[in-house]
């Protein structure tokens, strides 16, 4: 598969994700679907009390976004390392030390 095809696929993925934000008239607050799911549960069972709270919660949205970014960055770093190594190794099939 050629590099240009990869770029086309990446652009298509980006367009699919960006489209809901760009399409005018699309209503929504873009809250997490798990919050909406939780809300639906509480609507059908108003007396339901979650029987356990998370042991630890990020103290603020900022700290939470830091941890989410960290998760993505760690993953991207490892993924980039492996891809780079695959492409640079003269004998790609063997990841020799």
């Amino acid at each position: 598969m050629s590099a240009s095809r990869s770029i086309v696929l990446l652009a298509a993925a980006a367009a699919i994700i960006a489209a809901p934000l760009a399409v005018p008239g699309l209503k929504g607050e873009f809250k997490g679907s798990d919050d909406l799911g939780t809300k639906a549960i509480l609507e059908s069972r108003p007396d339901y009390k979650p029987w356990l709270q998370p042991l630890w919660k990020p103290p603020s949205d900022e700290v939470q976004s830091l941890l989410f970014s960290l998760q993505a960055a760690l993953g991207a770093g490892v993924l980039g390392y492996v891809i780079g190594r695959r492409h640079s190794s003269p004998n790609r099939n063997a990841d020799r030390r």
């Binding site: 993925a13 679907s33 798990d34 939780t38 993505a72 993953g75 490892v78 492996v82 492409h87």
Partner: protein, 222 residues
């Protein structure tokens, strides 16, 4: 998105744990075997885990006006088979439950079952079916990743419907309601995940043609 902490009745939470544990144990056994027999596959294993880490951290907007995140389990399921992903998915879900208050420990069993078991098994089945029907590698990988992603969220909807059946329309009605929240939101994300998985699979295979490379990546353990 995962079922939040404390939002499954205790009996359901326990039931999903019991259902998930054998798959996780099988995942550990399988991972040990792959590493022992095909040490060259360690790099690809790391990449498959990393891909799941990245994608499950990215909350994306969808046409329903809410946000959700892809799962990234299809890549590893295609390369290594579904068993290993039960373990890798569990690690990701634990990270998110403990550090991000996303998902939870009581709901871990249920979330593992949807994201780390049903999703990868669907991905792997679609991949096998696609190859058998003569689809090109890229097309088979795309559908494997996209349908596995979607299946995870359909499972979440069913799990919630079993716990909270609608008083009037029962489990089916509740499944449709939760499906409207989770599965519908997931459709464009699943398509995006399918495209991304094809690109990453291609990048991982370096200069080889993908058909040979998927066997090589896995150390030919399939």
């Amino acid at each position: 998105m995962h079922i939040m902490e404390g939002y499954l009745p205790a009996a359901h939470a326990a039931g999903w744990f019991v259902a998930s544990v054998p798959f996780i144990v099988a995942g550990v056994v399988r991972l040990k075997r792959i590493v022992a027999e095909h040490p060259q596959a360690r790099m690809t294993l790391a990449a498959a885990g990393a891909f799941t880490f990245v994608l499950s951290a990215l909350k994306m907007p969808s046409v329903t006006g809410s946000c959700s995140h892809p799962t990234g389990t299809g890549l590893g399921a295609v390369i290594f088979g579904p068993t290993v992903m039960a373990l890798i998915g569990t690690i990701v879900l634990l990270f998110q439950a403990l550090l991000l208050a996303h998902g939870g420990l009581t709901t871990l069993g249920a979330n593992v079952f949807s994201m780390a078991i049903v999703g990868p098994w669907v991905s792997w089945s679609v991949w096998r079916l696609g190859s058998r029907l003569g689809a090109s590698i890229a097309v088979a990988v795309f559908f494997a990743a996209a349908l596995g992603d979607l299946a995870s969220y359909v499972t979440t909807s069913v799990q919630l419907a079993l716990a909270y059946p609608d008083p009037a329309s029962g489990v089916l009605g509740a499944a449709l309601k939760f499906g409207g929240i989770f599965a519908l939101t997931q459709i464009p994300l699943a398509i995006a995940e399918g495209l991304l998985t094809v690109v990453v699979m291609n990048a991982l295979s370096g200069r080889a043609c993908m058909a040979d490379e998927i066997r090589v990546l896995s150390g030919d353990v399939q």
